[in-house]
Amino acid sequence: MNAFFQASIDGVLMGGVYALAALGISLIFGVMKITNFAHGALITVGMYVTFELYVLLGITPYVALPLVMVTMFVIGYLVQKVFLNPLMGVAGHNQLLLTQGLAIVIENAILVMFSANYQSVSVPGFETAIRLGSITINKPKLVAFLFVAIIAAGIYVLLEKTDLGRAIRATSVQPEGATLMGIVVPRINQIAFGLGIVCAGVAGALLTPTQYIYPTSGNTYSLKCFVIAVFGGLGNIWGAILAGLIIGVVESFSALWLGGSWSELIVYMIFILTLIIKPTGLLGKKG
């Protein structure tokens, strides 16, 4: 019973981080229909930015978060502007291979700049977990979960309540129509990609207290994020969050009952079932 509760809590907390990273994929796909295979590498970038700020300024990841967000936004904005916008009109497989190429470049540029050493960031007071009876709660993940909620809410407000958000949504529904309405679609794309990368970067930053930082450390999340984004319904914020939590819990329980090696299998099966039964995802509109 104890294990059951513990696994639920661990699953939910991990799911929160997945959800945030997946939210970025979902946003990018929702607006530009780009399958961003560089997402994992950009999560790693988020980790290294956090790490550098920690080393240079001695600030914890949580304090560094605004700076990480700004940096990541700029990176995302530029990636879209320089690499992806010129390719917006052509067949989708080009963007796919391009993001794959970018992932290779980013990952190895990090290797060149920072070496392959395992780096870590420690937050004072976060080494031990919170204890509630026999249940323990990981502090960094709990804090990450709160940040995820705040950022998801922020993105929701941005998309639903602001002019910029309306422009983004209009672009996602129909780029041609948006152009006619005077929206500069390439710039909206850049902003949307920037926001998506902010999600990736923040997820990376929030992960730094819980794991080692090395040039390929974000890769583990890459495929899982796609699964979650599709499961939740591409382009759907709450869908991504819900799906992230579900996948987190499913992973946790399948690791408990079947062993960690098989948990991936369960995740991919859920993914395929989603595609077959409801390709628009958990909360996606009916197609």
Binding site: T35, H93, N94, G101, A109, F226, I272
Partner: protein
């Protein structure tokens, strides 16, 4: 079959006053016309003879490179059949490749069954798996990115299963004893493997070239170009997508068996890793998706580049991959339709220039 058509083509070429333009026109093979021109045949012939002579001319290392170009091109052609021709973009072709490799290797190592028979069995198993994946995907009408992600997930499922199942050698993989017997599908020298790879590539390329001028080939392309229209014209799109997928899977399995016999060791990551699927796609995109020679051109470009970056930058760790990645990115940005697409565009531009000048 159609002398009129050839005459037409010739007539058209004669009109082309721009020499380079007409040359390019003759050299490129577009998706739409199916006939080779004389210069094309000559170029293909020269390259073929060159490849067949390489064992006499090149070191083992260069031969290995040529073999890896040929096999990569072969695997890319398999992908091209279903994703390029029929338009069903697969991101998990490693599944079929891996199943081919595993079937023949396990049959040989554990049951003593000859690899040649194992090759056939691998094709069968791969075909059956493809039928299953295809049924689930196409019956439920998965398309575009969704289909791509589904194939990727299927591939990952296979990787996890193979990695964790004792009967399938789990993480240990399968190591195949080295022999020099043709009967055991090992050809003693690199030259043997090179010839076999060359034959495989020639056959699949010839097949793709020929099929383009058949009912089935045209139906494949029609499904890619516009599935609704295809169905309205009496095409059972489901059936043709299934045929393309199963054929592609069975041919990919041959590539997998070849890999296993050449490298003599396979494990779940070697067979079902994401990089394997990408290795099938990259040459197609670089050369030109859906074209007959695009994948070969793509493989002939991308493989040497990766070799050169590796050897030139071997003392500067990581830079090799940075440069490789950058080249990949630039190539895609400059030639979104691949080398063949770019050449066609240049041809059109030159033609136009001539017209405006004249």
């Amino acid at each position: 079959m159609s002398t009129a058509r050839i005459q037409e083509a010739n007539g058209h070429a004669a009109e082309e006053t721009n020499f380079l333009g007409s040359f390019l026109k003759k050299v490129t093979i577009s998706t739409s016309n199916g006939k080779l021109t004389l210069p094309q045949i000559i170029i293909i012939g020269v390259i073929s003879v060159f490849i067949l002579l390489t064992p006499q001319m090149l070191s083992n290392y260069r031969l290995n490179l040529v073999i890896s170009i040929l096999t990569t091109a072969y695997f890319a052609q398999c992908w091209n059949l279903m994703s390029g021709y029929t338009g069903q973009f697969s991101f998990g072709h490693a599944a079929f490749y891996g199943i081919g490799a595993y079937t023949s290797s396990i049959l040989f190592v554990d049951f003593g069954i000859n690899p040649w028979i194992g090759l056939i069995c691998g094709m069968m198993v791969s075909g059956i798996v493809a039928a299953l994946i295809g049924y689930l995907s196409f019956h439920y009408n998965l398309k575009g990115d969704y289909f791509a992600l589904a194939t990727m997930a299927f591939c990952e499922i296979f990787r996890v299963i193979f990695k964790n199942t004792k009967a399938l050698h789990a993480a240990s993989g399968v190591s195949i004893p080295f022999s020099k017997k043709f009967a055991l599908m090992q050809f003693g020298s690199k030259a043997g493997f090179l010839y076999v790879a060359f034959i495989m590539l020639t056959m699949i390329t010839f097949g793709l070239y020929k099929i383009r001028r058949t009912k089935m080939g045209l139906y494949f392309v029609a499904v890619r170009e516009n599935e609704d229209a295809a169905r309205a014209l009496g095409i059972n799109a489901f059936k043709y997508k299934m045929i393309a997928l199963i054929a592609s899977a069975m041919l990919s399995a041959v590539g997998g068996t070849f890999y296993a016999q050449y490298y003599l060791y396979i494990d779940p990551t070697i067979c079902f890793g994401n990089t394997v699927s990408i290795s099938a796609i990259t040459p197609c995109i670089i050369g030109g998706v859906g074209t007959v020679f695009g994948p070969i051109i793509g493989a002939a470009i991308i493989k040497p580049i990766s070799e050169i970056t590796n050897s030139a930058l071997s003392n500067f760790v990581g830079m090799n991959m940075v440069v490789y990645g950058l080249i990949l990115v630039i190539v895609i940005m400059v030639m979104p339709k691949g080398v063949i697409g770019l050449v066609q565009e240049l041809r059109v531009k030159m033609g136009k220039k001539k017209k405006t000048e004249g």
